[in-house]
Assembly symmetry: C2
Homo-oligomer: 353 residues x 2
């Protein structure tokens, strides 16, 4: 068995009611609820919501008592009390919304993928550099996953030595009832840009690299001819700038026999051990999700991360906005992961179906 | 739960004593015992052994009663009763031994990696085409693994639909006491040529492809500066000729806390489900090795493959030699896997340590 590790304490709220006010603009993806849950859990106050679909805005207002439904995005941008604008709009609309928030003097917090084109990337880099405002990104598969956070704490404590490689599997279930934009690559950005962005972020985070080069990538629509714009498969191989490597496969092939949306895994190889994160399910067992398996020089250990870490990202982000620090995630890191996603997508070999 | 599958019957010996005679030449790798166990288990008769090291030859002769220690390789090649020459010599010597066997009118059966240079590949292709003799390869991680064989039977039965991707992890423990040739790339061929060859073979086999293109590969010596010729890490991304993809990582980083030499895995993604093979260990459990996990449209199932399949490859190989068929493995397939190994090795980016 491994030595007993002492993990970081569970995070407390970092502000009191009304001390950090945010608004939600663009609720196309349900991730907006994860983003708002995280922020309010860390003490932030949701004041406004705006969405072109009034029913969606009403749903949000119902979940967070006290939230007012704005008549326009501008009404929110005009409110000086709003510090942060959160958005899970259609992926291709996130950068325009975030840039408008930044130009209005606010910080932005967008769902991943945070942007879908190189032009948006340049515009975001320019605006954040010029204004000092933040374009923060909700890479939820790491910052909102206790298993992913626990793995990071193990690495920080030297449990596997130097990290040499991060391999990610991000299978998802496409199911029915998805809105049209899920099938339009111009809107969702392509599978490597969209769900792949989670994984480029994890490669950078766990290896400690500041960037990397896509050495190979592919996309395909193997089995969904009825929705030609869907890329049901994508993968990428990466060489990071510190000599580590990364590999990611994302797909929409979760079979019906799985009880969760996908068997998301992250495998982290170090010089002195390895970690496997079984994020949402541990197939063939009743363990549930949130499992972190550690094998190192001292032995094997399984951690059930549920309840062990909380989600420190959100309180750190709030403090970063108030204190103008970069504790939660640096701007460079958030945008480098997005850039690698775009590069992988842009250079992908399109496989024959 | 999945439907009950009916698997292939356990293989019986295909010949009686003396009906198929083989010899062993070159015992540098312990795999020779796996090869000889497989052949004798299928009914073959071991008649001769030759190795430059008499102690090693004696060890082999002790294990297989009736085996005679030859005074030279030539003594074996001169015996018309010998149908097949098996070799697990130093990797770079396997092709020369096999080619001499072929020129003597025998079939060859060599450990993987079957060859270490493109010149050897060409010579083997030329000789097998010209003579009709076989240059069979012991890709033991598939043909001598019941879990790997069971996975193949599940795929044949349509359990996961069309195979889209094969991902392999081949970690190994370097430990101490390895002979010098393990640290000389000119002799072992490089990590992707050597242990990686298992995985290129699996990609071809499970996807049913007849070839593929290496789109990216890397090798490194990250943490073994004392043995500069060791490549302790390698990986490769492959696009197969039927539109499927493959990825392999091999390494020498198995930590001391693991009870087996390596946590070998194969992950096979299909249009209708996926299979995970946990070959030698199922970390965090007492399941042991040989675990095959299946998740498909119907549910989840775990198979303990131990005792379920036997090793049909060896009997098929014997019959192939007697009947001049290609049931066990085609010559093209065996050499294509070797060619991909060489290509991955030859084109590998050498990562900074």
């Amino acid at each position: 068995m491994s030595r007993p590790y002492t993990f970081d304490p569970l995070p407390d709220p970092v502000v009191g009611p009304g001390e950090f006010v945010f608004a939600a603009v663009g609720l196309d993806h349900g991730h907006i609820f994860g983003m708002a849950d995280g922020l309010t859990g860390a003490g932030a106050t949701a004041k406004w919501v705006y969405d072109a679909d009034p029913a969606r805005a009403a749903q949000f207002a119902e979940r967070y008592p006290g939230v007012r439904i704005a008549s326009s995005e501008q009404e929110i941008l005009d409110d000086p009390e709003v510090r942060l604008v959160a958005s899970a709009a259609i992926a291709s609309e996130r950068a325009p919304i975030g840039l408008r928030a930044i130009e209005a003097g606010k910080d932005a917090f967008v769902d991943k993928a945070p942007l879908t084109t190189f032009a948006q990337l340049e515009a975001v880099r320019e605006a954040t550099a010029r204004t000092g405002r933040k374009y923060a990104v909700y890479y939820g598969e790491r910052v909102h996953s206790e298993a992913a956070i626990l793995a990071g704490q193990l690495i920080e404590r030297g449990a596997i030595g130097r990290v040499l490689q991060v391999v990610c599997f991000g299978p998802h279930r496409i199911g029915g009832g998805r809105p049209d934009w899920f099938y339009d690559p111009a809107q969702y950005g392509g599978i490597l840009c969209d769900i792949g962005s989670h994984n480029f972020e994890q490669m950078l985070h766990y290896t400690g690299a500041s960037g990397g080069r896509i050495t190979a990538s592919t996309v395909a629509n193997y089995a969904h001819a009825e929705t030609p714009g869907l890329q049901d498969f994508g993968d990428a191989h990466v060489v990071l700038d510190n000599g580590a490597t990364g590999y990611v496969r994302v797909d929409w092939f979760t079979p019906d026999g799985l009880e969760v949306f996908g068997d998301g895994r992250t495998l982290i190889l170090g010089t002195d051990g390895y970690i496997e994160i079984r994020k949402y399910v541990d197939i063939g067992t009743d363990n549930g999700g949130g499992q972190v398996l550690l094998v190192n020089q001292e032995g094997q250990h399984r951690f059930d991360a549920n309840g062990m870490t909380g989600f420190p990202f959100f309180g750190q982000l709030i403090r970063d906005c108030l204190d103008r620090t970069e504790t939660a995630m640096t701007q460079d890191h958030a945008l480098k992961a997005a850039e690698m996603s775009l590069q992988a997508q842009d250079g992908a070999l399109v496989l024959a179906p």
